[in-house]
């Protein structure tokens, strides 16, 4: 089954329609997604700013990371549950949204950045735990994280706008390609 077929199947389920059309559940899920962003991205920003030496300079990096991580993970779980529900409510249109696709790519990059940081420079944290200015690799990871989460927020917000939706044609060939639109060939 292709991803598009899977999205179409999701679209055909009663739960998807019910969530999409519900007066309160959809707004509640969407609001929870935004509120969890304050916690999850908020604490990610705090750690990033510490890595860049812009806040909590006297607090060891391991303490910032260790004490905030449980909450960051909690926020991440809420973001994922509500995010998946938002996709479930509007599967085909979201799957074919260039902003959603950009968001997924940024999310993968953000995940790689976390993995790179934790398996790399963070392994030698004992050497620079108290440094006001972290090593270059750590500062780069912090900056990359700030940029990527910012891009994820912007791309996520843009999913709501339909400028590049597949059912609005004609679109530039690039948009149709990037969004995976199935466009019938022009009738002669």
């Amino acid at each position: 089954m292709s991803l598009l077929a899977f999205a179409e199947w999701l679209d055909s389920t009663a739960g998807s329609t019910a969530l999409h059309e519900s007066m309160y559940m959809y707004p509640i899920v969407e609001s929870t997604h935004v509120l969890a962003l304050m916690l999850f991205v908020g604490f990610a920003i705090v750690l990033d700013l510490r890595l860049l030496g812009l806040t909590l300079k006297n607090v060891p990096v391991s303490q910032v990371a260790g004490r905030l991580l449980p909450w960051t993970i909690a926020g991440f779980i809420v973001m994922n549950i509500t995010g998946l529900l938002l996709f479930y409510a509007i599967p085909v249109r979201t799957y074919q949204s260039i902003f959603f696709r950009a968001k997924v790519i940024f999310l993968i990059l953000a995940g790689l950045n976390v993995w790179y940081f934790h398996t790399g420079v963070f392994k030698r944290i004992a050497e620079w735990d108290h440094a006001v200015i972290a090593p270059t690799a750590a500062r780069r990871a912090g900056l990359a994280s700030l940029v990527l989460w910012g891009a994820i927020i912007v791309a996520g917000r843009m999913i709501a706008y339909n400028w590049f939706d597949c059912d609005i044609q004609p679109q530039p060939a690039f948009v149709n390609w990037a969004a995976g639109c199935v466009v019938p060939p022009p009738t002669p």
């Binding site: 962003l37 908020g42 917000r157």
Partner: protein, 157 residues
């Protein structure tokens, strides 16, 4: 009574510029969200500490002093982007219950952050008992959640 004021707001060039563009509203809205994330981190860092969570090894005042410029930056971004968003649809907002919840809790949340919460987090008075700290932390979180949720809800009305 306030309707004429909202109607006057609608005539201002800033709102008209936002209406006249396909991209401005979504872009400003996105920056509004970025500001919210920053404010969330700066506020919750201290409020969690007031509740005895998060960076509990550090003094409340230390966290509050370090978080303060970022809290003020976040607030500035939110207000600077919130104004053009408001000016682009004042009449719709006048009739939105969520807007009125937001616009009444927002000044309360800001005043609370700059007065009561600032005194409890930045001062080292003996009157700042654990109980008082918890109360202030919980109130601050509740206020900002109300402002943010009501703000998001404007889009559904």
């Amino acid at each position: 009574m306030l309707l004429p004021f909202f109607e006057w707001c609608e005539t201002l060039w800033l709102g008209q510029a936002v209406i006249g563009s396909n991209w401005l509203f979504p872009v400003i809205e996105s920056v509004h969200l970025l500001g919210l994330a920053l404010l969330g981190g700066a506020i919750l860092l201290v409020d969690f500490r007031l509740l005895g969570l998060g960076l509990k090894e550090r003094a409340v005042a230390e966290l509050a002093i370090d978080a303060r410029p970022w809290m003020l930056t976040g607030l500035t971004i939110l207000i600077a982007t919130g104004i053009p968003l408001f000016l682009s649809e004042p009449i719709k907002l006048y009739y939105s219950g969520a807007f009125w919840i937001k616009i009444t809790t927002l000044p309360i949340a800001i005043a609370f952050a700059l007065t009561v919460r600032a005194r409890v987090t930045l001062g080292d008075s003996v009157r700042n008992t654990a109980r008082r700290q918890q109360l202030v932390g919980a109130l601050s979180i509740a206020l900002w959640i109300t402002v943010a949720a009501a703000g998001r809800w404007i889009g559904f009305s």
